[in-house]
Subunit: 347 residues, 4 copies
């Protein structure tokens, strides 16, 4: 595939000429990004890359065999660093700690959790309002009422919020309220939903499907990037294997692997990844040591009362203990990175 | 869980009283089905089942521990037999043979295939207009134009059509045109989509997710049944395992297993299930011998020209050969069933 | 790789010259088979195959990229048909029905089962004397006493016996007593054991490992073939996947797949493959319809008293019912094969 | 199950009486360990545990539902700490760093590697002399010659050696030469081999099978413990999953999980676990952060010349870099443990 970057301020006629050039040769193409400085992704014209480069308005042309040209480090060598809010960034050494309950259950529950996790060091509040439940008769979340409560918690604490979106139909009204749109593992190949969030400019947290290969995961990200939304955060949350001693098999080796082949930030969810609260702290430590850009942790003031996922939720106290250890670990890891270690992918 | 069947012609006040009875005891409930003779599914009131039975208007009360009470044979012991068209039924010994191309590619391609497979014994035409492709730059199907071509093929041949729906947003305009709505493997846990097709009264072909357990598959079916649509056909299409010598691992043992625990018809897709055309015939034979209610076979007039899945498509000639062998096999199997063999699940 | 077949009656000097020719060029080599008409397998000399063919005493030279040259149909296109006893053959349309208890438990149990399954149509008696149990405190089999009982059953019924061997140390004393040496799934990659049975001339039943790819399975067979023992029967017994609704996932598509790439006979064990007795009959039917060369079925006079695997054992009556259906099915399948159907792999 | 610990200096008559007591009640039993202070493991007499405790010579009686009573922390709450050599211990905070080539290939290769890894901080030398290769025509290791070279390297450097044993037949001559007997992943369920190494008193490194559950792994360890050898080191080396982007899926969550349910030390092999050299350092860091008792790392002076596994071998320089980072990380982790963190399992 070719990724053609047009020069800043290029004219629309120049873009049209490149497209015409590609179409005449029977190559597929897609224009991505801003009007000022768009990218053109093309499949099938790899051999005439040099000719394309000589066309007016073309800045760079990169060729790649990866099926995810926009997500690949071959095309964009630098870490993709972007803002969640004015103050909070992700990627390139900026860590994202998302914490909060599996489901928003009540006003007091979400407000108590939000102010608690903020004090203890989280910089994003998580909470589910629309819950993808295996069983139709299980609690399906508070819906729009849950969103209202999250917004209230955000106003009270200043924490940006991340919540799951389950259908393209919900996007229009949901988007203005949330700071990060979450695509759940079960929807990683819901291509209609991926296309929808690709049309927004909100950051998207893309969870890895429980049976998705690394290649499939990055192609799911590519759906969003190809829509013009470059703010994608990948989240490893465990895959399905034959062993049921943990809820899922947390595949930490994808952290350094994906970071070596893609510029996108990768965070880890050890709560879903293990399903057992006593494993969350050690696996959080392991995730950070493997080079993760952040964590997503389920925290509930009273886990035994949780309507979903109580067995994998930490109390506020346990979350505080985890943050202390993670912070100490990260101070060593940060020192490592400053040293010329030659190994960008992990530390 | 309790499944409460109200008597035909029961009064709305009687339904309301049952609901009130359950709610007072803190049990969840859901009313399903026609106004004349609805079902009430309730969770948590198993101990007062006998009291419920004594309420006016209640016909039967069944208790089950299965998380899919409406899909379970415990609740509905008889095979779920229903019409696709006036002439064509599925379930209870009525076989469904769906054949056609992976994607609708052109008018001539779909018309040629449709008339070919009809002559050779298919009773449903398959064809994808909206294609769930792993890569955003791959051919995504002809969309609404493809639907028009399918409708034309249906008018020409009389074959009912099955095609995939990828988003709740498409349902309104798509529903009147197609005879069976297909939910693809990647969307088996797209609960927004399951709820949407549960609100229609069109038959739904629910493919097993590539990572779905039998329990999860039947709970996905339960989402549709709980919406009031009882016309669900399950389709085994191979699961993902460690072995890549076939595209997927066709799990035929779920055919007798699911038929023993559920009343829903189960068909098999050996094309996706193996991904290799030379394996389609033997695995079709095996599927029927295992007790399947039908097959879904990819057929293309010229597989090497197919825009997708050419490697797993049969020519019309090969499909004819397959049908001949399957018919001969089924004549023996039908004879078996007549004998009092005590083993309903397979033959 | 090259497979060099020496002419019948070739001289040892001629064999030596071929070996010398290969070694001078730095290629690995191994001499396999009888003194009269040996094969030489060589790795690395593919380019000089024609030169090798011109050496004295060389009959044929076949080149293959498969890592299992002796197991491959590229090298040996015809079905590998061989004798179990003077009367019983396997492969090429000769069906092997192995039946008997998981473990030999007592004299009366094995004698009753043996005479029962013989009457009902089995042609080999199975029974475990050395049991590979996951737990060290579980019943480990009767050991040599169990072998004695199997031998007595064989004398009484005339049925040849198949039993598992767990260690190279047991081979010397075990070999004279049994007709087929079984390698269990857990030992499929016990290469010391594979080499040991490769040195015998007894038929070997090689079960597929629960985590083995098709390529690994055929290379395990190659270990035995490379030892000079060409009598290998492959047995699919289910692989391990994420789904636990059956004990293992019976992967029937390997039957036509393996038979298309290898000349070795393939049988199916639906007892271990499903772990549920109600699924054994339908999956036996499916296995035969997929083209299997036989079945291995656990039968116990009183399954509820079995010391191991009772849940997956048939009674003699159920086995009789299964055999009747299988025989009826096979009569159709045999008719198919006579027709010029062009599809050797399945029917 | 019951684990009955006899008092130090108990009389053989007292042991016999306990056994008699258990046998009369139809319970299975096994006597394990030294003559002075043996354990008796019994299945089926859980209800009379108190009676057993009152028998003469009995010190303690523990009841557990785990199928691996000797490997369980319920029975032995303290970390199992034991010596590899007089100077080197494993478990309870003592770290084992095993490094060396996949295969011993030549005298210079193993001597150069041994002195290199010793200088850089390894405390055990690994090297394969008998190699379990999937293909019978691949390099199978130098065999006894390889053992001689390992012994020479041990004499030169003082490093104890670990090497794989593939057959019970090799045990007698191999045992005196090596310090740790390795059971490979493919032989984790080779019960004849497990029983054989259970009869020695050498430490055993038991790799997890590529498709073994945690329960199966601990029961494999139990085979060795039940033979009277308590010196078992568990080694996670990656499991097989659907994703092939890494050679295996390194399942780090088993480190804290197994350490919480068993007293045995757990080390991690990121070389086999990932199969990609660039992932070895980050996954080593992650393993230690998750609480591992050590690492096993493949090191080769010139990986591109390696006869096996070159793609996953580090150079000496890379190994030095890894050790530096690991040491820095461990200094933080050690500090953690001193704090009263209440979470024994990881740090």
């Amino acid at each position: 595939m070719l990724v053609i970057h047009m020069a800043r301020g290029c004219k629309s006629l120049e873009v049209a000429r490149v497209c015409d050039f590609l179409e005449r040769r029977g190559c597929s193409l897609r224009v991505v990004g801003s009007f000022e400085s768009p990218y053109i992704v093309s499949n099938g014209c790899e051999k005439v890359g040099n000719l394309v480069l000589s066309l007016p308005g073309v800045k760079t042309v990169t060729s790649t065999k990866k099926p995810y040209p926009l997500a690949s480090r071959e095309t964009f060598p630098d870490d993709n660093v972007f803002h969640i809010t004015e103050d909070i960034k992700v990627g390139g050494g900026h860590r994202l700690i998302m914490a909060g309950p599996c489901s928003v259950e009540s006003r007091s529950q979400i407000l108590e959790t939000a102010s608690g996790v903020k004090t203890l060091g989280a910089n994003v509040l998580r909470g589910g309002a629309f819950k993808p439940r295996t069983n139709p008769y299980s609690f399906q979340g508070l819906g729009s009422e849950g969103i209202n409560l999250l917004v209230e918690a955000k106003e009270k604490t200043g924490l940006p919020i991340v919540t799951e979106i389950m259908s393209p139909e919900d996007l229009e009204w949901l988007e203005p309220h949330v700071d990060i749109l979450q695509i759940g593992a079960r929807n990683m190949m819901n291509f209609a939903l991926l296309k929808a969030v690709g049309r927004t400019r909100k950051p998207v947290l893309l969870k890895r499907g429980m049976m998705a290969t690394v290649d499939e995961w990055l192609q799911a990200a590519e759906y969003i990037l190809a829509g013009g939304n470059h703010k994608v955060i990948l989240c490893e949350r465990g895959i399905r294997s034959f062993d049921t001693s943990t809820r899922n098999t947390l595949d930490l080796s994808v952290v350094p692997l994906v970071k070596s082949i893609s510029h996108l930030p990768v965070i880890v969810d050890p709560s879903h990844g293990t399903g057992r609260k006593e494993l969350i702290k050690p696996m959080s430590m392991a995730a950070m040591a493997a080079g993760a850009d952040g964590l997503m942790i389920e925290v509930h003031p009273r886990p035994h009362e949780a309507l979903s996922d109580g067995a994998q939720s930490l109390t506020l106290e346990e979350f505080g203990d985890l943050m202390e250890s993670v912070n100490r670990l990260c101070s060593v890891l940060d020192e490592e990175v400053k040293a010329p270690c030659g190994l960008r992918i992990a530390m």
